[in-house]
Every structure is written in structure tokens, then in C-alpha cells.
Symmetry: C2
Subunit: 344 residues, 2 copies
């Protein structure tokens, strides 16, 4: 069983993940090398660690974080150190996967992208520990290159921010009074800072000037906000066959996101009371979700969130004006449009 | 409530933890500064993160890992950079606390050192996330000093090993066929490599030669094996009022440790069958524990484990012969005797 898994992992990892959008073709070779590095780096001599890492690696992620680091490095392009860029991309993905594994334990999620989560297959305990393994392995991979201290700094700081963001999110769960500012603080910490860190890392690896580095960070930050608002929208308006998770998971877990925040602010007293009643039930059924989304739709909550995401994606693109046009800038611009237009 | 916690934390942290043994007086000032650094570094602006970190910091740890790093640095003594030494000690303790928090979630432990665990008070989810916060914050603290890449390397590698050791331990839980070699591999990864890493870090901070560094690593490794064998002994023979946890916790969690491994190898067929029957029951009661410890005692399992721990502690001391005599070498020698003689 262990041998089979390993063979399957090696074969599957020799090609880039199926979900990578076409405009990333300009870094397809780099992404393939990231997959190889991921396979090597997660190859523990402890069978269970290898199996769970393999399960998570093969779950069909978008590899957005490695792509950002690679595109930023290529865009700046003053310097190209392939082993370092590939390692930085792999480390970013490992940190991301580790936090997903821990989040799934925290949220007791059974499915992600239409596949069973690691905790559903292997149990909470070993999943928490394998998350720790991936997190530490990512830092170790970076720390074994003598020039990488600043990369370690960026990635450890974003990991601190992600943990804080997730705790803050858990802390305000079910709180219908949260403001847009609190919502943005949560998604800033749990998503946007990491994407900003990936762009910053790529910029540093490409020997960016201070201004270029700041621009790419700002791009990643706005991209991250746009990405997360869209994620939260898809939770309520997406097609479960495409998103791979049931509608309204956020609502069931008590996560109050932008469409709802907007609606709670703008709806009339009657609809506000109705929303509060629906959300205060101990069990949120599919009928509850349908009723809640109808109220949100009536008050333009989805439209407001979509506009907010699009505005941020546009801001992200605008931060790239300093860079000369070409495939890499084009890919980053298209990526910003993609994160808000995607349906999965 | 948050304010109260913070005030209490600050006051309690201004003195070294009560549990520090007297022979650490030679580094009492250093340990006090580690406490200050711990308090500063875990001061998140997210209230819940601060509360849970504070709860764990105040739970009365021995601060063994900072002590090892500080003693090793002082012993080598060719160089003394207080801020770096204090940060390394604080980072080691934060990594240790993070792994304890995760282990308590994995094992569903409700008490540690006679106090409720973080997961018992705050729940599993926020405890997993605050563990991640502490882990990442430790790396971040180290990575913000330009000379620390090798320290980051050591600490991330030991964290990888700890996660692997814990997974291996979970994987072989309830397996009565495990050998002494597998047991030593588990405790090597989950405990000894970390203590070795603390000593190695201290050695590097003190500008050790390669030989001194190897000696101090070897000291830490043997110390760690002795420490963990003793911990496992105390689980079966300690006084719960002193250890702060119920007798036989390891047995109930399916952890097969040295006294039992020894007994399963040396007992007659009748006692072996009796042991297997007792251990295969779905619920291990206090009566089960008493019957099991009686069989182990009859076959000298505790004595064998105690001798193994003492032999390792002696090996640890022997690795220090190259260093000149003085308070720091004396403290490390006494520490090796202490870890096997302690009753808590």
C-alpha cells in the first residue's frame, strides 16, 4: 500500500497540477520543477507522513502561491536562480497545505475540492502532526540555502499572520455585528498577507529594487483580498460540483462574510430580523441556506461583494504599471482577472 | 478578562519559573531574560492568541531547552551575544510549547503538570492555531537576526523530526511487538534531537569548534534519551501529585514504552499472555494499570528502564570531558543526573 502510494505520487507529480490556468503556460516548466521539489521534500522515511503529505499534494490545488513567487521573480528578471526560486515556490505551497490541513481539522471539514480531506481519511491527530511536519520542512528547505534568511523571515511572518487571522475568525464566529473592517482584517491576515509574501519573495529572488518589491507586495495583497472575497462568494453562489464543497459551509461554521455583512447593514428591519432568526438556529439546513441567500440576493449583497472583489483585482493590476509589458506582467494581470472570474 | 490575564502574565513572567532546579542559578539572570522575551514575543494583538499563549507559558514548564542552549553557549564561552542567546532560548521554548499544545490535542489530554491543558480550556481548534502561531513566531524571532540562518536550520530540522517521531509513535500505538530499536527511534526523534539541537545552537552561539559542537550535540542527544525514558517510567511509577498527570496515561493511549517492552521480551508465556489480555481491553481501568505494573515490576522492567536511563545520563556527562571544569560544566553534569533522578 505504501509502495503503491509512492509510485502513484511520483508519476502524478511529474506533470503540473491539472487545475493550473492556461495563462500560466509561460512558467509551466518552473511549476513542473516545483512539483518535483514538493515530491522530494515531503518524502519522509515515516510511511504515514509520506502517505498523508502525498494525499494532500495530489488533492488538486491551484499552486497559486508558487505561481506568484515564480511570476514575480521572472517579471523583475534581474537575476534568476532556479534552485532558489523552485524551493521558494515549493515552500510556499507546503506552508499553504499545512495551514489547509490544520484549518480542516479546526473546521471539522470532510471534503475539499470534492475529495475527502486528510483528517477525514487519516484522523485529526496524524493530520495535525503532518501539518507541523510540512510547516517545519518548508522552513528547513529554505534555511538550507545560505542566502535565504529574508525569505524565511517573510514566510514565518506570514504564517504568524495566518494563524492570528484564523484565530480572530474563530473568535468572531457567529457574531453578526462584525464590520467590514474586521472582515477585511481577517482576510488580510489569513489570505492576503501570504500572497503578498509570495510576490515579495519572488521580487527579492529577482533582485528587485525597493519600489518594485513594494509594488509586487501591494499587488499580492490586493489580489489576496479579491481572491478571498471571491472564495467567500463562491461559498454561497458557486456550483458545488465545481467548488467541490457544499453550499453555505461558511454559514454553517458561523463565518460571517461580505455578502452577509453588506445585507445586515442595508436590509430593512424585517429582513434583518429574519436573517438573525435563520442564523441563530442551532442547525443550519439546506432550506435555511436557500432562504438566507434569497434575502442576500434581494438586497444586492452578492453584487456588492462582487464589485468589491473586482475593484481590488483592478487595484492589483494597477500596481504593475511600473513593469515593462510582456508575458509575465500579462500573466499577473490575467491572474488578477482570473481570481475574481473563476467558478472553482 | 483579557486585561486581567495580561497583567498577571507580565507579573508572573518577571521571575524565572518556579520549577527551575537550583543548579541553574548560574544562569538565573539569563533565564529571567528568556521569560521577558517570551512575554514580549507572544504578545499578539489578537486577544485569544495572547490568552492561550499566556495560559501555556504560565503552566510551569522546566525551561529545560532554553537552559541547555544558555549553558552550552556559556560553557563554550568564546563569544557571548546576549540578545541572540536569549532569543534562541525563547524560540526553543516556544517551539516546545507549540508541540506540547498539538500533542495534547492529538492525545486529547485534559491535564498537564496538574493544570488543565489549553485544549481543555479553549477547545481544540484555537489551540491548534495558537500552536501554529507559536511555531511560526519562534522562527520569525530567529529569522529577524541576520546571523541566525544556521539556528533556523537546526530548529526547523528538529521540528520536522519531532513531527515524524510523533506520527511514528501514533502509527505503532497498541503494537506490542515493537522493539527497543523502534522505541529508541521514536524518543530520539520526538525528544532527543530537540535537546541536541538546543545544545548545538548554544555551542554555535558560543563560537564552538567543530569538536565542541559535536560533543555538545552528543551530550544533548544522550540527555534526551535519558530524559524520555525517565518520563515514560514516571508515567507508570510516579506520584500523580508530583507528575501532575494520572498514572498509566501512556498505557491508556497505547504507547508501549521501555518497561513494558522489556517485560514482554523477558516474561514467561503465562505473564506475557496476561499482559496481552489486559492491554487488549477497550477500556484500561485503574485496576488494569495496577495489574500491569505488578507484572512489569515482577520481571524487573522498571529496573531495566532505570538502568538504561542512568547509563545514557552517564554517557551524556562523559561527552563533556573536553571542556574545562567550572560552574557551567558542573551545571550540565548535574542536569544529566537530575533528569533521571527527578520525580516530576
Amino acid at each position: 500500500m505504501t509502495v503503491t502510494t509512492t509510485v502513484r505520487t511520483a508519476a502524478a507529480l511529474s506533470r503540473p497540477p491539472a487545475a493550473a490556468p492556461q495563462f500560466l503556460d509561460c512558467i509551466a516548466g518552473d511549476l513542473a520543477r516545483v512539483e518535483e521539489r514538493l515530491a522530494e521534500t515531503t518524502r519522509s522515511d515515516i510511511g504515514a507522513v509520506r502517505d498523508i503529505s502525498g494525499h494532500t499534494l495530489l488533492a488538486g490545488g491551484k499552486r497559486l502561491r508558487p505561481a506568484l513567487a515564480l511570476l514575480a521573480a521572472r517579471l523583475v528578471g534581474r537575476h534568476w536562480d532556479e534552485p532558489r526560486a523552485v524551493s521558494a515556490g515549493a515552500a510556499a505551497e507546503m506552508i499553504h497545505l499545512a495551514t489547509l490541513m490544520h484549518d480542516d481539522v479546526v473546521d471539522e471539514s470532510r471534503e475539499r475540492r470534492g475529495k475527502p480531506t486528510a483528517n477525514a481519511v487519516f484522523g485529526n491527530g496524524i493530520t495535525v502532526l503532518t501539518g507541523d511536519f510540512l510547516l517545519a520542512r518548508a522552513i528547513s528547505l529554505l534555511a538550507h540555502n545560505d542566502e535565504n534568511l529574508h525569505v524565511v523571515r517573510v514566510f514565518s511572518d506570514v504564517t504568524v499572520a495566518m494563524a492570528e487571522g484564523e484565530v480572530l475568525q474563530a473568535h468572531v464566529a457567529h457574531d453578526l455585528e462584525i464590520t467590514e473592517a474586521t472582515y477585511e482584517e481577517i482576510i488580510g491576515r489569513k489570505t492576503a498577507q501570504f500572497l503578498a509574501g509570495c510576490c515579495e519573495t519572488g521580487a527579492m529572488l529577482g533582485s528587485a529594487t525597493d519600489e518594485e518589491r513594494a509594488d509586487l507586495r501591494a499587488y499580492g495583497c490586493d489580489l489576496g483580498i479579491a481572491f478571498q472575497i471571491t472564495d467567500d462568494l463562491l461559498d454561497l453562489t458557486g456550483d458545488p460540483r465545481k467548488t467541490g464543497k457544499p453550499l453555505g459551509t461558511d454559514l454553517r461554521d458561523g463565518r460571517v462574510t461580505l455578502p452577509l455583512i453588506h445585507t445586515l447593514k442595508t436590509a430593512d428591519a424585517e429582513d434583518r430580523t429574519l436573517l438573525r432568526d435563520l442564523l441563530s438556529d442551532s442547525e443550519i439546513s439546506d432550506e435555511h441556506i436557500a432562504a438566507i441567500t434569497a434575502i442576500i440576493a434581494r438586497h444586492g449583497g452578492f453584487e456588492a461583494a462582487r464589485r468589491a472583489a473586482e475593484a481590488r483585482a483592478q487595484c492589483a493590476g494597477a500596481h504593475l504599471h511600473r513593469f515593462s509589458a510582456g508575458v509575465y506582467r500579462d500573466a499577473l494581470e490575467r491572474l488578477a482577472r482570473y481570481v475574481v472570474a473563476r467558478d472553482r
